[in-house]
Amino acid sequence: MIKFEEQATQKLLDKNLITENQYREITTYRGLNIFSLNAELKFFLYLSVLLFTSGIGVLIYKNIDSIGHIAILSILFVLICVCFYYCFKNSKGFQKAETVFENPVLEYLVLAGNILTCIFIGYLQFQYEAFGTHYGLATLIPTIVSFSCAYYFDNKSVLAIAITGLAAYIGLSVTPQDLLKNINFYEDQTLSYSAIMLGVLLILWTVYSSRIQLKTHFNIIYLTFALHIISIAAISSLINYFEDIVWLFFVIALAGSSYYFYKISYEYKAISLYVFMIIYAYIGINIFIFRVLEFMDFRDLWIFIIIALPIYFIGSIILFIKLIKNFNKEIAA
């Protein structure tokens, strides 16, 4: 409630922590009584794009036999052209640094155009096998389109689609819910290797693009994907496979990525990377300890383990508090 915020400002003034001038500026601004619907309306635009494109997708899917193919294709094509026409007309062209549209609606038109393009290409492939039986191509082309859109129009949502497309090309599903459900790595061990490779590639790309100063604000998205892909692939392999050499490889991979992300989260001052890095590293350490305990004779030890557990957790809590405190101090500096 405004009342208490004003009180707090007043108290700050009384304690001489803000100046008289600043106080006056703040109260004048509060006096304007602004109620901004900025975030809400933008979110509506965004939601409308999601609804519309899902609707179109289902519409095409259900009526694939009844409406003429040419009709569908041409309607889609017209829609895509309209979206991109407005975007190109109003964009400032490609820029290496971060850019924003003057009109917020356009950002969402880019998203709509991009998703519709993906549907268009998917439909083309389904109906006409435009890319022959090279299904890889049918993923790769939307991916390339998305990447170019993301970089040209500076759109983070489209970039996220592009990265999932890239992962799909090598056979991974990295949509957040699938990563959480951890469905990828059960059937195919080689996928874990490709996942780790993909993560490394993404990291290398961030290194390169910060060197040439290309859209450096995208790096955090790449790094987030890389962290989760590498860590989840490594952890699920640690749980599922037990040949010693392979197991050791994944231990090293997880340790290496944790160390790298420890460094990088300090550099980017990104607490979300830091926290997830700690969580994954902690899970990894616990799996490691568990494996070591397995080698010893478990049955005699279990009472001891239960008693030691609270101490172990208290120890970890103290360690975590230290880590977080360190991090907060470092990024505040």
Binding site: A8, F35, I314
Partner: protein
Amino acid sequence: MIVYDKNLLDNLSLVEEAKSLQSAGFISKEQKDLIKKELPAFKRQSNILVRLGFFLLGAFLYISICGVISLVGLSGERIFFEICCYIFAVVGFAVAEFLANQNYYEHGLDDAFILGALLNVGFAIGITTEGYEIVIAFFVAIASFMMYKRYLHLVSMLIFCIAVSAFLFYGMFEFGAVGKAILPFVAMLFAAGFYFFTKNLINKLTESYHYKGLLWANTFCLILFYLSCNYLVVRELSAELLGNEVLPGQDIPFSYFFYAFTFIVPAIYLVQAIRTKDRIMLWISFLAIAFSIYTIRFYHSVLPIEVALTLGGMVLFTIAYFSIRKLKNNEVGVTFKPDRINNSNALLNAEALIVASTFGLKPELKTESPMEFGGGGFSGGGSDGSF
């Protein structure tokens, strides 16, 4: 009743204010850091991720302590099973008290022990009374209210609200069929009464400590009020509780009232929210409108889903587009210009994540059909075996 040092609570609100003033650009970062340094503070985690992490760790610690106690108790008799939850609850209260004395506030660790203790109170009463819901609700309500009063713990306030409503519901069940039949109206009146009661309390507040807790209770009442007489909720609950099967061609009693309620209340919320500039009510009104639409679609298939989605998208786009155009240049009052002090940008940051989860491309080898990628809408459909 509040266990914390009031000075620290005051400092917390000052630091929060300084933070929002800094992000609004009224004061410099150095000034904010100075303010932060000047004022002693709680051990508190403002980042929700970090707080969740500590909550998990705290929960592990709590469980492992309970494990040790059980290890000792297992050698005892059956009586241990009957009292173990009481012991666990006492442990939870003790640790929560200890943490509060160490100035842990909204840290994650304290959350784990407070919530764990409340959970154990529920279990303990449940075991003693063999699952008599009304008694459980009663004691949980008391315990959570104490927790809120002592530790200003907001989630406890929420649990208190839920427990009180549960107490009311189970109380109505005691009256048999009549009680169940008038339940929606009682719940509605209760929510309305409680809403104005908390609103009044908020207006009379002179100190800010209880403001957030009361706001949560107030918000809870808004949601409960809408749900209490929502057509879908009433119809499904009456089928569940009274066994009233609604035959084709018939409808539940007072159906017109419930239909009207389902649509008028969100509209009132929306208008009232804009009028009083109440952001929470605004969001509840959006959610309520969405749920009202869902309610209608649940019983009457007005349009096939894909047409509804497409049209819905277009309508929403038009509304948003014209609202933006209209509000773009307002300097005061309701506007499209971002507010410097209170902004809800966290929402927009989540956009990329939502896009990735709904529209992420998936590998085709697994899904057997290239139709899978491109639109999130496809994924439910699966393939029809043409491949």
